[in-house]
Structures are given as C-alpha cells and as structure tokens.
Symmetry: D2
Subunit: 327 residues, 4 copies
C-alpha cells in the first residue's frame, strides 16, 4: 500500500481572470447590465468587477486592448507554504517569469506561462470585498445583496483555453501545479480536450485543441448561476438585446453542467452555468475518456443538438500575428 501516490493539495481555486477587450465599455456594460456584476475598481485601462457571491475584491479585470483574448489567469494557493512549493515547481520547468507586487485586490503574485504561453499567476494574499452599508445582507454567506439588474451571476466558475498541444499543457497543470484529470476527449490516443481541477468541481480549467495549432487563445470564461432556469431568463434578455447566443441552454455530457454560450461585445466567448453538473469527491476517481467519434451529441450536448462548428474551432483573439508550426 505504501506506493499509493498521495495527491498535491497546494492550489485551492481559480481566483480571478483578466479579459482583453477592444470595446471595454461595451464589455463592462454586458457584465454589469445583463449579468448583474458590480464594478469594484477602475484603474488605467482596466475595470475590476465581481459577481454578488464572489467574496474577493474582484474576480474579473477587463482591460482595453486591440484584440479580444486572455489577459491572465490567477490561482490561489491554500497557504503561503503551498504557494512557495508551487512557485519552486514552476521555476523548475523554466516557465516562471517572476514576482509582481500585486494588483487591485491581491498582494504578491508569481507570474508564469503555460507551455502554450497563456499568462498565469500564483498568489495567496487576497483582499476581501467590504460591502457598503446599503449592500449588506442578512444572508450572511452572501457577500452583498442580490442585484436588481439583469439576471445576476453568482460567482466565477472556470476558464477554458485553446492550445496548440493539449496533452503537453494538461501534463504541465497536473505535474507542476497538482491538478487532477477528470474528463478527456481523445481521438485514437491523441488528446483533444482535458477537464482538470484542484477542487471537487469537474474543472476550474479546461484545455481544447486549437485546430490550426495556434497557441495562447482563450476559448471561454464561465460564471455560475446554479439555477437551470436562470439560463433561459438570461438568454431571453440577451436575445432581446441582440447579444449573440452561440449555443442555447443545454446539458453538457462532459461535466453534466447545464450550460450556454454567448459572445460578449468585445468578442470573447462567455459561458454561463445553470447547474452544478456533478462533483467529484472520490479520491480514486478514474478519468472519464470520451472518444472523439462518440462526443458530438453525447459529450458536448447530452440532449439533442450538437455544438456548432464555431464552438469547436474558434477562440480569441480570432486572428494572431503568426502561426506556430507543430511537430
């Protein structure tokens, strides 16, 4: 029994995400007017926001940029010691970039990239959002009162990145950061998609193969409702306001989450989660492997219509300066 390898529990959660937008004010309006998020800070070309049950100062930073895409992804460690352990592990891979002093909402953070080049950071020190008097609620496990705008999302859920090499990037998360593989799409042994997590969620992050092996793209960012009907309410509101709904509400096979996909005005794909899907508390969970040929109509959407081609192929930025050749 002594050879059973114990898991690494050093990372706790997805802490925040930075999105790039060529239309920042319209992007901010999308998240505040329709998704009911609150602006908690503005600085330089960036706006900071949170959902009403997010407890930190912010979970989303929108930064003006010439193209849509990912700014960076931040992971919170379970302790200062755990942060130090993971920083050392990252340094050993050669992908580390160094410490920054912090940003609005958090202290010192260690910057690095995935093998694909997606900017990420590790941190432990965070600032909790302090509600104003009029925002305080008697529901003590809720950060601020439920907003009266749009159909308000409750918290940040996960990120999905496109990559030139899904297998390699998945391994990096598992080996270096302690993520666990939960579900995977394979095509005759080639890894086309991976859903991995550090928590009991099926994923805080997924990687999907970029069909032209262009690295570094964002596939989507997801906020969570936890209530399936809320997807129909927000879809009705968004449709009535000419926001593009790429995939209407449906149940994913992979993760079983009740999902929908829309495009925010800046061009980034946003997923909304209407229920919890399933959770994984089994410590000897065997990853679920979907063969690509069985995935459409089962793994993507369990009920009915397959995902459109665009979902499988497009991320942001839509165009990139150069195409990286794969081996």
């Amino acid at each position: 029994m002594s050879e059973f390898k114990e898991p690494i529990f050093d990372l706790a959660q997805l802490a925040h995400v930075e999105l790039l937008s060529p239309k920042p004010e319209e992007s901010v309006e999308f998240f505040t007017r329709f998704l009911g998020m609150n602006i908690t800070a503005r600085e330089g070309q960036s706006v900071y926001l949170k959902a009403y049950e997010d407890t930190y100062q912010n979970t989303l930073k929108i930064t003006e940029s010439s193209d849509a895409g990912l700014g960076h992804v931040a992971w919170r460690a379970i302790s200062p010691q755990a942060l130090e352990r993971r920083v050392e592990a990252v340094k050993a891979t050669g992908l580390g970039k160094g410490w920054i002093e912090g940003d609005i909402g958090h202290g010192a953070a260690y910057q690095f990239t995935t093998p694909d080049g997606h900017p990420m950071e590790l941190l432990f020190d965070v600032d909790y959002y302090q509600p104003k008097v009029e925002e305080k609620t008697r529901l003590l496990n809720r950060n601020v009162k439920r907003p009266d705008r749009g159909v308000p999302v409750r918290r940040l859920d996960h990120i999905n990145l496109m990559t030139a090499d899904t297998a390699k990037n998945t391994d990096f998360l598992i080996d270096t950061l302690g993520f666990r593989l939960r579900e995977q799409i394979q095509d005759n042994g080639n890894v086309l998609g991976s859903w991995v997590s550090v928590s009991n969620l099926v994923h805080e992050i997924a990687f999907m193969q970029e069909p032209n092996r262009i690295p570094g793209k964002l596939h989507h960012l997801c906020y969570w409702y936890g209530i399936p009907q809320n997807l129909y309410d927000i879809a009705d509101l968004l449709k009535d306001n000419d926001i593009f709904i790429e995939v209407p509400p449906n149940k994913h096979g992979i993760s079983q989450a009740f999902c929908m996909y829309v495009h925010e005005p800046g061009g980034n794909r946003i997923e909304l989660f209407g229920d919890a899907g399933y959770i994984i508390t089994d410590p000897t969970w065997k990853p679920v492997i979907w063969e690509m040929k069985d995935t459409p109509g089962y793994g993507d959407t369990w009920i009915g219509t397959e995902f459109p081609e665009s979902w499988w192929t497009q991320g942001t930025p839509v165009t990139v300066p150069a195409i990286v050749e794969s081996k």
Copy 2:
C-alpha cells in the same frame, strides 16, 4: 508567514450511511419507488441501495431495527496513508473501537464513535458498482441510466446528527478528522449547530443541539438532485401518496441549499437537495456565525416561513432508554 497552519486533507467524502428502520420493506419502497434508488444487495436484515450517479456499490444500508435511527456513518480517506493517519488520531482520543474486515461494498474499516456515541467508520477500500449491460449509458460520467421510477435522486449528499454537546462533537471532527468549520449557529457563545466539511461542500455533516441533551440521535440524511424543480416534482408525488412533508421546498439561509424535509415510513427524516447552495474553495474561509435570535426566517429558511418546532427538536430514535445528564 511560517506559522500559517496548513489544513488536513486526509478525508475525502461521506462514503455511505446505515439507517435503522422498524419498517424496512416500507423504507426500501420509499427509496426505490419514489426516490428511484436501486437495490444492489440484500444480506441478513439489511438492504443495500445506491442513487443512479453514486459510483460505489452502495451509499445506503437499511437495517431492520426496533427503532428508527442511525446505524453508522462511513468516511472515505484520500489514501491508505491518510486512513492510517486518521485511525491513529482517533485512537489517541480513546473513541476507537477497532477494525472490521469489511461489508458489502467495502473492505477493511476502522470503527469508532463520536464523543456523543454516533457509530462511525473510516475506510479506503471500496467497490465500484458494475452496471449490468442494460444499465449502461452513453453518458460516461453517470454510473447507470437514469431510472424511470419516481423522481430519482442522483447521489448521497450529507448527514445531520443531533448531539448532547454540539461544541465538543464539532471540535472532535475538526481536531481529529480534519473537518473545517463552515457555518455555525451560536446563542451568546453557546454552539447550537455546526456545518462542517472535508470537501468544497458547505457540509458533509452537521451537528445540531438536542434540546434535552439526549445523545446519539439522527436528525436527517440527505440525497441530492441538483435541480430545484425536482423538489416540487417529488413533493407532489409524495404528497399524493401520503408521505409526510415536514418542510416544503425552500431555500436554506445556512448553506443556501434548496431543501425539503420528509419522513420516510420507518420514521427517519430525509432531506432532499434541489440545488448546490454555494461551495467553498476559499482556503482562508471565515466561518459564518449566525446568532440564534437572527436565525429563524433567515438562517433556516431564507424565503418566508420559519421551520416548524419539530424540525428544531425531533430526531430518531424518537424515544431513548435513558437521558444523559450534561454538565
């Protein structure tokens, strides 16, 4: 920073629960006909069952007994090493009882009790349920096809126990087993209820103060749907079949879960969960403290009607041989 105490991650989950029932066949009919659970084994005076997304051989054992109440609660460790660590910790408290070879669905288990006397066990080796050919589903993260009976529950969620001393029993879970305190009801510093977990759930177990300080009672066992509307569907079906609904569907303040409470024919209170409530991935989560005076109408049910007196005071067995004096 070096003094930051890192959490214990040795226990992974609530693995199964044994319920005692004076009307075992009626209890089994309740769980199979209405909650759509499947019988996976029968042995002696016991019937073993699982929900359709439970992956183990069973999560519920119903054993015939003169009185309703708790048989035992089983926790699964993350590894053989972690199991050994926790067994040692339990032994040190003097509450250990010793190893058993196993039961249907699992291997060696270490038995002990809470300070209150609730029978529990720790284990690592489990048997996964092997679906029959006709039960297999193309939804690969689901153990068997969705049942066509009743309104089928998806998985075991949590247990709630009444205790003669909530503070002491809570401390035992935290100090000896590595649970983390998530929410608590206090009355001028006296602990009346605790919600604790080893996972990202708000709780796998709660303790509530038994008003007469009678130890060892079961308050309720909970299975999970994840879909709020399902509570109305099962409530409609149960009401039409004369099953007592003690608390109709409502949103808990504590945990934010969408809940309802019914009494199974054997007399035990069963909770059904219609959504996920919130989850906790924050590694520095500060427990939410509810003052008892603020709890009714906010902490119990967030929306509207307070819980009935029976919910606060009654567990199973309803009567006990002797009342233990508290100090």
Copy 3:
C-alpha cells in the same frame, strides 16, 4: 337536449385594476424596480403601469389615497354588442352607476359595484401600448423587450376580493356577467370562497369571506410569470430588500397555481404566479368543491405548510370606518 343552457360569452378578460396606496411612490418603485413593470403615464395622483407582455396601454393604475385598498376593477367585453348586453343586465340589478367617458388607456366605460360595493367597470374600447423604437422586439407576440430590471412579471392575471357575503357576490358575477364557477370552498353548505372565470383560466376573480363581514376589501392582485423558478428569484430579491413575504412559493391546491404572496410598500397584498396551474376547456366542467375542514394543507398549499392566519383574515384597507351587519 334542447334544455341545455348555453353559457354567456360576453366578457373576455380582466382589463385593468386600480390600487390605492398611501405611499404611492414606494408602491410604484416596488412594481418598477422589483417586478420590472414600466410606467406608461402619470396624471393627477395616479401612475399607470404595464407588464412587458401586457398589450394595452396599462393594466395597473396606482392612485394616492389615505388607505390601501381597491380603486376599481375593469372588465373588457368581447364586442360592443356584448358590452351593451352586460350593461343592461347590470342596470337590471340596480347596481349600475353610469357611463364615464374613459381614462388613460380606454374609452367609454360603464361603472357599477358588486353587491359588496367593490367598484367595477365594463368597457370595450381600449388603447394598445405603442412601443418606442428602442423597445421594439423581434419576438412579435411580445409587446416590448424584456426589461433588465428586477425579475419582470409578464402580464396581469387576476384579482381576489374579500366580501361580506361570498355566495351573493358570486351569484352576481355568474348571473349578471356570465362568469362560470370553477372551484369553491364550503363549510357545511356556507360558501367561504369562490374562484370564477370568463376565460379558460381557473379564475380572473375570486371572492373570499371577510371573517367580520366587512364589505369591499381587496385580498390581493396577481401578476403572472408562467415560470416557477421566477418566484424563487423574485423572493430572493425581495427578501434581500426587506419586502415582507407573507407566503413563500408553494403550489396552491385550488387552481394548482404555483404562487407566492408579498405585501407591497403601500400595504396591499400582491400575489405572483409562477405557473399556469391548470386550465379549463371542458364546457361541462363540474365545479370543484372543497370542504373547509379539508382545505388547510390541501386546498390552500398543496405541498406542506398551511397558509398563515393573516392570509385567511386580512385584506386592505386594514381598518374601515364602519362594520356592516350581515344577515
């Protein structure tokens, strides 16, 4: 067969309702900020509003008054001829008051009262709301875009009035106006509540016995969502903003509608409908008779908790100048 009495089809629908409020601006804020209704006109001490799928210029008129209560109820006839027929029938009862030229949103209307004294009017000419350019929607059967405020109600549903003599007032609606009896609460032959309609709905109007036989009170006004989950969303928002929830979401036995009751800041009880209940298209429908002794826990709320005493006894205005003796 020639003796089969054919029904009267002269009235089509509940057209609008006037509420009295001692706190008109707070009442208007309740309907606009939380229920997402739009203000379509203001005149004198009155504000006119509509829900986003109401097609007429308004369905609600809120008028400042020293006490909460009913202003008036307006019924639309199916044709000018039908209007004339019903006016003649009302005149024959001695309860007619005469024609008015109209109000914002409608033309000539004939005023009368129920035997209990509730002000009502009959009309045919109505003004349809003309959406502004920015309000227009591609959902052609929707009057304006779905609002982005609160949890927006879709249309006016029904009115419930308290009365000193339920049987007499019910008979007036049936005999004079052509309503059909759908469900009724009786206590040893005494009529305590009646649900009647001119359409396929179970009711556009209900009468309930005022326990002290005080005439003329309003029990509640109801707007409709058609989506059960929306009741939980609005309840969450209202609770977080200190609006009193008298009855949390539950399924009525009578009508089977998914309902909840709140008090708007002016003091009037407002019901919100989360689903359709059932509809009646059977032309030989036999009224459903509930015995009062069987009603609590079955007829009021089908699932679980009985209605509170206040629901059975209180209407607006809460106090009245004089008590009318009934025989």
Copy 4:
C-alpha cells in the same frame, strides 16, 4: 359599431386524437413508461390512454396500422345546440361524412375531413374517467394521483397537421368551425403556417405547409407539462433510453411555448410543452404575422439554434401512395 362581427364560440376544445402506429406495443410503452400515461381501455387493434390530469376516459387512441400517421382528431362542442350548428356548417361545405354511434369514451360523433383530407369528428357527449379507489387524490382538481413512472405529462395540448394548402385549410377551420387565427407564417403573402384556436390557448391546432404538397400528414401531437424543467428531465430519460430527440428543449418564438420534439417508436413526432407560452384573452387580438425570412432563429426557436430541416419538411406517414399535384 353595429357591424362588429361577434366570434363563434361553438367549439370548446380538442377532445382526443387517434394516432396510427406500425409498432403499437412500443408506442404504448413510450406513452406509459416514459410519459407516465395510463391505459384506460383496449379494444381490437386499439389502446386508449389518458394523462393524469385529463378528465375524460381517454385523450389518445393508438391504433395498429401499416404506417405511422393520424387516425383522427376529435373536437368537443360547448353544447348540443352548438354541435348541431357546427355539423350543419360542415355539411354545407360538402366535407361531412356522417354520424357514428360513438367509441370508447364518447357518444355520437359527426365525422368529416378537412379540405386536405385529415379525418376529424365533432362530438358533445363524453365519458369522464372514474378513478379507482387507490387512484383517488386529495387534490380535487386532479383526476388521479400523479403517476410514479417516467416524467408524467399532465394533459393533451394540441395537434399540428401538414397540409397541401395551408391557407385553404386555415380558412375552413375559421369559417366553418369558428377557430380564430392567432399567429401565421407568410412568405410574400403565401401562407406557410397557421396557429389557430377556439380557446385562450394560442392554438389547439396548427397547419404547416407540406413542401411537396402531399396532403393529409401529421406533423406532431403535443402533451403538456406546464413546468419548463420537466422537459429536461424527460429529455434526459429519453436520451438515456435511445429515443430520438429531434429538437432539444427551447422556447418557440411563435406561441412562446417551451417545447421539445421527439419521435415515438411508431415514427410519429411528439411535442412536449414545458410551459404555457402566452394566452390570448384579448377579444380583438390582431394575428401575429411572421415573414418566413425572419422566422428561423426567431419564430421557430427564440433562443439560439434554428429548427433542423427535418422539422420543416417531414411528417407522418413518411411516404404516401401518391403525390397530389398542386395548382
């Protein structure tokens, strides 16, 4: 004003439908095991069924046949006199076929066809289903207890027929039977689809243009849940049992109903309604006209994915002996 034409109120409802099935026992299993319907009679090659809130002896007759398709559609009049009036009107069109003595569940009925040849009948005398003792429920407006099988539908909703000439068949319903036009799809003045009703529903019957002008086909039959989430529950169950889901749950633009389409094992398309859509009580309702070019993605499914080609083109029987030439 005297020229205002008053509507005809002679027909009350869709009473029942006969489906033809080449696999009658599998069709019956679909309706009983998955949709929770009850068998109320068997005779010859036919099985009679009802949903649990249908009050008549049956609303569905499944008859063995070489091909899938429509057996007949039955309409109930509001009175014996109204029945006589409509029979006379049908006779005047030359489409009448004559009286039959009755069938299981109803008395004398007058048979006729639409101009397209769809078999229909008019009737007044019906038998109400008499629940067995163990079926009786305390929910007095429900015919029998909620079934514990599948995800049970509540009542018959509507029928949709394909036709070689939508305009002509729509006019027949309006002029001869008193239906009212509610919504319509036009293509430069050509009528491609009509939704008409005798009640406050948007439709009890719709006609859609058969692209090859083949007359007499069935497009679909619809049963009603009234609860949006139920569509996801039944879709999950049906998918797990290999029933073809042609259109996953979505919100129709036309009628606003929350719908889904599946194919029963006999080959007929079955729609399931998850909410009420909107209702029409306005007596001067102006039909909503959708231009065909604007319909996909707005009129068919309001939220997201357009209907598949099959939905627009295929009915049952899939093949017919001869193709009728259109002018």
